[in-house]
C-alpha cells in the first residue's frame, strides 16, 4: 500500500494569543522570534495514520510539502516518525499560490511519483484554515475523496471510512486510489524515536520545481490566485473580567450566584 502524505508548515498554534502579532500594512503575521514553525496540526494525524497503515499492510510513504527551506525540518520529522521519502516542492513561481494553486503543485508532484493507493491530508490547516487544498487536489487528480475521517479500515481495494458529523458519524466506502482527510479523533500521533531521528538525518530531500513536475507557472503563484487578501488584523475581543473573590472558594461561588441573579443572567 503506497501512501502519499501532504503536510504544511505553519506557525505554532500553541503560542498564547498575546504573542500573536499582525503587520497590518504588509497583511502578514509576524512570527515570534523564539518559536519554530510546526507541522499543521491535522497533518500530524495524517502522518500517523500513514505509518499505521504501512505497519499493517506494507508499502512506502512519501511526504510532500510546498514551502520554503525551513520546511525541510518538518519533512525530517515526518521521516523520523516513520515515513520513507520526502520531497520539497519549491519554485519562485509557486509563491503566493492560493489553495487551488497549491493543489495543482501537489497534483504535479503526485503525477510524477506515479502509482499510489492513498493520499492523506489534514482536514483544515492551522493557519489559513482554507479547508480547500486537499479536496481540490482530489479533483485535480480526478480521484474520489472522503473528508474529516475518524476511522479507516482497509478491505482489499476499497476502504471503509467513518466521517465525523455535527451530530454523529457517517460510514462511507471508497475505492482506491483515493484522497482522505484526517480529523483528530483518528489516532494519537507518535513522537519520533531516537533511532528514527538518526535515520532521517541521513536521508536526502530532493527539491522539485515547476519544470520537474510539469506545472505551468501561469496556473500557480500569486497571479493565478482566485482570492485577494484586502485586510488582515487582530481583533480586540478582550472583555473586562470581574473577578469574584472571597475568603473561601465556596463563598466566592455563593457571591457569584447572587451576582448572576443581580445581572439577570439567571
Amino acid at each position: 500500500m503506497d501512501i502519499i502524505v501532504c503536510v504544511k508548515q505553519v506557525l505554532d498554534h500553541d503560542i498564547p494569543p498575546r504573542d500573536f502579532k499582525v503587520d497590518e500594512e504588509a497583511m502578514a503575521v509576524i512570527p515570534p522570534s523564539n518559536v519554530s514553525p510546526v507541522i499543521s496540526n491535522f497533518d500530524e494525524y495524517a502522518v500517523e495514520e500513514a505509518i499505521k497503515l504501512k505497519e499493517a499492510h506494507g508499502g512506502t510513504i512519501t511526504v510532500l510539502t510546498a514551502g520554503g527551506d525551513s520546511a525541510r525540518d518538518l519533512l525530517k520529522k515526518c521521516m523520523a516518525m516513520g515515513c520513507d521519502e520526502a520531497v520539497l516542492l519549491q519554485d519562485t513561481a509557486f509563491e503566493g499560490s492560493d489553495s487551488f494553486g497549491v493543489a495543482r503543485i501537489l497534483a504535479g508532484a503526485i503525477r510524477k511519483i506515479g502509482a499510489f493507493d492513498i493520499i492523506l491530508c489534514g482536514r483544515i490547516s492551522s493557519d489559513w484554515s482554507q479547508g480547500t487544498t486537499a479536496l481540490a487536489l482530489a479533483e485535480a487528480l480526478d480521484i474520489p475523496s472522503a473528508s474529516q475521517l475518524i476511522k479507516i479500515d482497509v478491505n482489499g481495494d476499497t476502504l471503509r471510512c467513518e466521517r465525523v458529523l455535527e451530530d454523529g458519524e457517517e460510514v462511507v466506502e471508497i475505492s482506491t486510489p483515493c484522497l482522505l482527510t484526517t480529523s483528530n479523533e483518528l489516532n494519537t500521533p507518535r513522537l519520533p524515536s531516537v533511532k528514527g531521528i538518526l535515520m532521517a538525518s541521513r536521508k536526502q530531500i530532493p527539491i522539485w520545481a515547476a519544470g520537474d513536475i510539469g506545472v505551468d507557472a501561469a496556473t500557480v503563484g500569486a497571479g493565478a490566485a482566485t482570492l485577494e487578501l484586502t485586510r488582515l488584523y487582530k481583533p480586540d475581543l478582550s472583555t473586562q473580567c470581574e473577578f469574584i473573590e472571597a475568603d473561601s472558594l465556596e463563598e466566592a461561588a455563593d457571591k457569584l450566584g447572587d451576582r448572576l441573579r443581580e445581572d439577570k443572567i439567571i
Binding site: A136, P144, L165, V171, T226, L237, I244, L260
Partner: protein, 324 residues
C-alpha cells in the same frame, strides 16, 4: 444559488441562514435566488419550503442514490446544476457536507472558494468575505478575483430568513441519472447521536469542561450543575482527545458554535480555537486555577481557583436561587 440541506424530515437551519444572505446578495446584484436541495424520498416536498424562505426558484433532486450523503453522487448532481444555471455566486454551509463539496466543485468550475465566512458583501460586483484565520487570532478580508465565486458560510453568523407564507416561486427538478455502480464512493450508514437533554447549539446555558477537569468522571460534577440550569454540557478538544467525552460535545473551530446567555468554562484555558466556538456567547464565566489563563480576557465573570470546590458550591447556590 444556494445549497440547502435537509435534517431528516425538516429543512436544516443552515437552509434558512443561506436563504437570508442569498436573498440579500441576489437583490443587491439584481439577480434571482435559486435554491438547490438534494436527498432521498420527500425531498421535492421539503424543497417547496425554500420558496417561503426567499428563493425565486427551487431545484430539487430526489433519488434513492441521494438518500444519505455520498460525495461522488452529490458532486455530480450539484456540478450539473451549476453547469446549467451558471450562477455568479454559490453559497453553501460550513457543514460536514458543505465543506466536503465546495472545494471540488469550485475547483472544477474555476470559481474562487472561501471557507467558513462570517460576513459577505459585494465590492465592485465581486464577492467579498470576512474569515477568521490562525485559529481565530486574526480576521482576514478576502475578495474574489474571478467573476464566479463560491463560499461556505459559518454557522450562526447569518440571521435565518423569515418565513413568508404565500410567497410564490418556480419549482423545478433535477433528473438524477447516476448509476450507483459507476461511483467510486458509496454511502453505508449514518449513526446519529441524540443529545441527552438540551442540544448544545440551542442551549440557553452551556457548562463546558476542559483538560483541567483531570478525568472523565469529573464531568459528572458539570452534569449536576447543567441539570440545575437546564444547560447543555460541552467540552474542549483536549477533553475530547483524552477520550473523556465524545466528539459531538466539542465546542470550537472544529466543533460546535454556541451562543448561550451564559457559557461556563471550567478548566479550559481559552485557546483561540476553542473561543471561535464559545465566542458568540453573551456572557462567559471562567473557573480556572491560573489567573493568567487567556480565558479570563474573554470572560465577564471569573473565579480563580479549583473547580472541585467552586462547582459544587455554585450548583447548590443556583439550585436555591432558581427555586425561589
Amino acid at each position: 444559488m444556494i445549497l440547502a440541506e435537509r435534517n431528516n424530515d425538516r429543512l436544516a437551519l443552515v437552509s434558512s441562514e443561506l436563504s437570508g444572505i442569498g436573498r440579500k446578495l441576489a437583490d443587491e446584484k439584481g439577480g434571482s435566488l435559486i435554491a438547490l436541495l438534494l436527498g432521498g424520498s420527500g425531498t421535492k416536498d421539503l424543497a417547496k419550503g425554500l420558496i417561503a424562505l426567499g428563493a425565486d426558484k427551487v431545484l430539487a433532486a430526489e433519488s434513492d442514490i441521494l438518500e444519505g450523503y455520498n460525495n461522488a453522487a452529490y458532486t455530480e448532481v450539484i456540478d450539473s446544476a451549476v453547469g446549467e444555471t451558471d450562477p455568479a455566486i454559490f453559497l453553501l454551509g460550513c457543514t460536514s457536507a458543505g465543506r466536503d463539496l465546495g472545494p471540488r466543485i469550485a475547483f472544477r468550475r474555476g470559481m474562487s472558494y472561501a471557507n467558513d465566512c462570517s460576513e459577505l458583501s459585494l465590492e465592485e460586483g465581486k464577492l467579498a468575505a470576512v474569515r477568521s484565520v490562525y485559529g481565530g487570532n486574526a480576521l482576514s478580508y478576502v475578495r474574489s478575483r474571478t467573476d464566479k465565486a463560491m463560499t461556505s458560510i459559518r454557522m450562526k453568523a447569518f440571521p435565518p430568513a423569515d418565513i413568508e407564507e404565500g410567497r410564490t416561486g418556480e419549482l423545478g427538478e433535477i433528473e438524477v441519472t447516476i448509476e450507483a455502480g459507476a461511483l467510486k464512493t458509496s454511502f453505508i450508514e449514518t449513526r446519529q447521536v441524540e443529545a441527552e437533554g438540551v442540544r448544545l447549539e440551542d442551549a440557553e446555558y452551556v457548562v463546558s469542561g476542559g483538560r483541567g477537569l483531570g478525568g472523565p468522571e469529573n464531568f459528572e460534577q458539570l452534569a449536576k450543575l447543567a441539570k440545575v440550569l437546564k444547560a447543555a454540557v460541552g467540552a474542549s478538544r483536549a477533553a475530547v482527545d483524552a477520550g473523556w467525552v465524545p466528539t459531538h460535545m466539542q465546542v470550537g473551530q472544529t466543533g460546535k458554535i454556541v451562543s448561550p446567555t451564559l457559557y461556563i468554562a471550567v478548566g479550559i484555558s481559552g485557546a483561540m480555537q476553542h473561543m471561535v466556538g464559545a465566542g458568540p456567547s453573551k456572557n462567559i464565566l471562567a473557573i480556572n486555577t491560573d489567573p493568567d489563563a487567556p480565558i479570563f480576557q474573554r470572560a465577564r465573570y471569573g473565579i480563580v481557583g479549583d473547580y472541585r470546590k467552586v462547582i459544587p458550591a455554585l450548583t447548590e447556590k443556583l439550585a436555591k436561587l432558581l427555586e425561589s
